[in-house]
């Protein structure tokens, strides 16, 4: 084929492609025109059933009532704390939703502004502990209880005590959270208290866990992982939150949750407002809405959690499943957070090393 008579290629020429491509890039680079009169705030959430209930009972009604938009970011509590630390001057997250122990870290680092009843009127309707324990820099949203989850088809009689975990029948079939996973510190402190220790004297806790090691299948890294391990039968008993377990029970699995006779410990998620947010008024309204009686009731009934609003009442089945507030054990989170780095080092070497 001679070079001189090559026909022109049909379709886009290189020049047309360059022009079109540049135009497309520029149009994507600029944000779409802002809808008039709608502000957007950014918050955070754990995924899964929790998120679905949160959107349905808190976020969507709020968006409708105030004609605003709430964008929810995913991730882990500690990532959100790290984000807030780095972006203090220009927060990426306006309303920070956090769990223990990151919520206490946030309080120590003053990542949330002090909330007053003028800012958030529903604060007066909260059980005081969910406001005071955060030094008034955050409010609790709902509480979960840390107890024992077990398979009913394991052939081993149902557990009644935390110490049942030590039974030889459970060899290689127990799961506990890694210390840095949600629930990890509760487990360590519980083990310490059961053997004569406390947050100030954690040695008995470490000793007990070292004795428990032969029974442990894995120290899991996330709540969903724990659920899967029990669901698939790799483990038959473990320390887990109640709401995560009920989700499986209601799905028809032979899995139950109990409060051990020594007590269940508390898990809590809280809402903090970044002081330098550009939408302070809307953030306050959001927090107020989230802890209001209606939102709290709807949300907690949906995921089997305990409400923080005194006026909120639970309906069945949540009412009989959720432990009453005065029956749950509260560890001293400020002491835990202070000791955390040293305990994590010890954990790496003595327990998982």
């Amino acid at each position: 084929m001679s070079k001189g008579s090559r026909p022109t290629k049909p379709g886009t020429s290189r020049r047309a492609f360059m022009i079109g491509g540049t135009a497309a890039t520029i149009s994507v680079a600029f944000p779409p025109p802002l809808r008039a009169q709608q502000t957007t705030i950014v918050s955070t959430i754990f995924g899964g059933a929790f998120e679905a209930a949160y959107r349905k009972h808190v976020v969507e009604p709020f968006q409708r009532k105030y004609n605003a938009e709430v964008i929810l970011k995913y991730g882990t509590s500690s990532e959100w704390v790290a984000n807030s630390l780095l972006n203090r001057g220009a927060p990426e997250i306006d309303v920070i939703f956090l769990a223990y122990p990151d919520s206490i870290r946030a309080v120590n680092e003053k990542l949330g502004m002090t909330l007053t009843p003028e800012d958030v009127p529903n604060v007066l309707n909260l059980h005081p502990v969910w406001y005071e324990s955060y030094k008034k820099q955050a409010v609790g949203l709902d509480y979960a209880s840390w107890g024992l989850t077990y398979r009913t088809d394991s052939g081993i009689p149902a557990p009644t005590s935390w110490l049942d975990l030590f039974k030889p029948e459970y060899a290689g079939k127990v799961i506990l959270p890694n210390l840095t996973t949600s629930g990890g510190f509760q487990t360590l402190v519980m083990m310490a208290k059961l053997h004569g220790g406390s947050e100030d004297n954690i040695d008995p806790g470490f000793e007990a866990l070292k004795r428990l090691k032969p029974n442990i299948r894995k120290f899991y890294l996330s709540n969903p992982e724990a659920g899967q391990l029990i669901d698939r039968g790799d483990a038959v008993i473990g320390a887990m939150y109640d709401n995560a377990t009920w989700y499986m029970t209601d799905g028809g699995k032979p899995i139950q949750w109990i409060v051990p006779k020594e007590g269940a410990l508390v898990g809590m998620v809280s809402l903090h407002i970044a002081p330098k947010t550009k939408h302070l008024d809307l953030c306050k309204k959001f927090v107020d809405f989230a802890i209001s009686k209606e939102a709290n009731e709807g949300f907690c009934n949906a995921i089997m959690a305990g409400p923080t609003n005194k006026l909120a009442t639970l309906a069945e089945p949540a009412a009989s499943r959720v432990p009453k507030l005065d029956s749950i054990l509260f560890p001293d989170w400020y002491k835990i957070v202070k000791n955390a780095p040293r305990w994590i080092e010890r954990w790496n070497r003595e327990i998982t090393g």
Partner: protein, 277 residues
Amino acid sequence: MAPAAAVVGLLLGAPVALLLSYGFAPGGSTQADFSDGATLENYAAVLGDSFYLNIILKTLWLSLVVTAASVVIGWMLAYFLWRAPERFKALLTVAVVAPLLVSIPVRNYGWMVLLGDTGLVNIALQKAGLVERPLKLMFTDLAVVIGLTHVLMPFVVLSVMATLERIPANLPEAARSLGANRLAAVRLVVLPLSVPGIVAGATLVFCVAISSYVTPALMGPSGAKYAATLIYQQFMSTFDWPRGAAIATILLVVTAMTVVLGLGVVGRRYRHLMQAH
């Protein structure tokens, strides 16, 4: 070329340099506080502690094993693809590369279905009477090696295939006509010519394996047993960023030294093959 390199250098190098500078600040917080000057305390704490050194060495060893396994399996797969009839080649290549489209956690969970205590492998072994109780295959170093090799092997396949495609297809035939048997033709002719592809693939696999977090976290033993999980823990749980930065720097240096050493050794032996032909 130079302006592009400068832009890339700035965008990549500046954040890394910033992170690494944290390593020279006093530990225990999320700030790099240089008011008392720079310090080597983090490096001393890490390098002087056999616990940390073991983690780094274990990660290095694991990555080398993953690299070797990926290269061996990947090369064989690439050779098979190269020799495949033309009409199947595209389909088979897609089949090999398709896992790259699936996210890593999903692939790891897939392995859990196979390797778990109630997984297919254990069920098969028990039904065949080879074991009485399920083998603990998940949450071990072996599981991490399997998971990482599975995830990273396609990179070796692609890289080796690219090199093999430039070898004349009748070269092995020519070797055989000169008296080599089939194995010798592959070993003495095809394999040396594919070395550039092997080196590129192996370097990529090694660098990704040594710094990988997701697979060791999902499939490996509990706790912070590998460098990446340890670094993550320092940043996200202990909130000791200078310490985490120091460990990250050490990991970076170890990786760079291994790659340079490996390239140096291979380059010397195969210098005549490393030039583009």
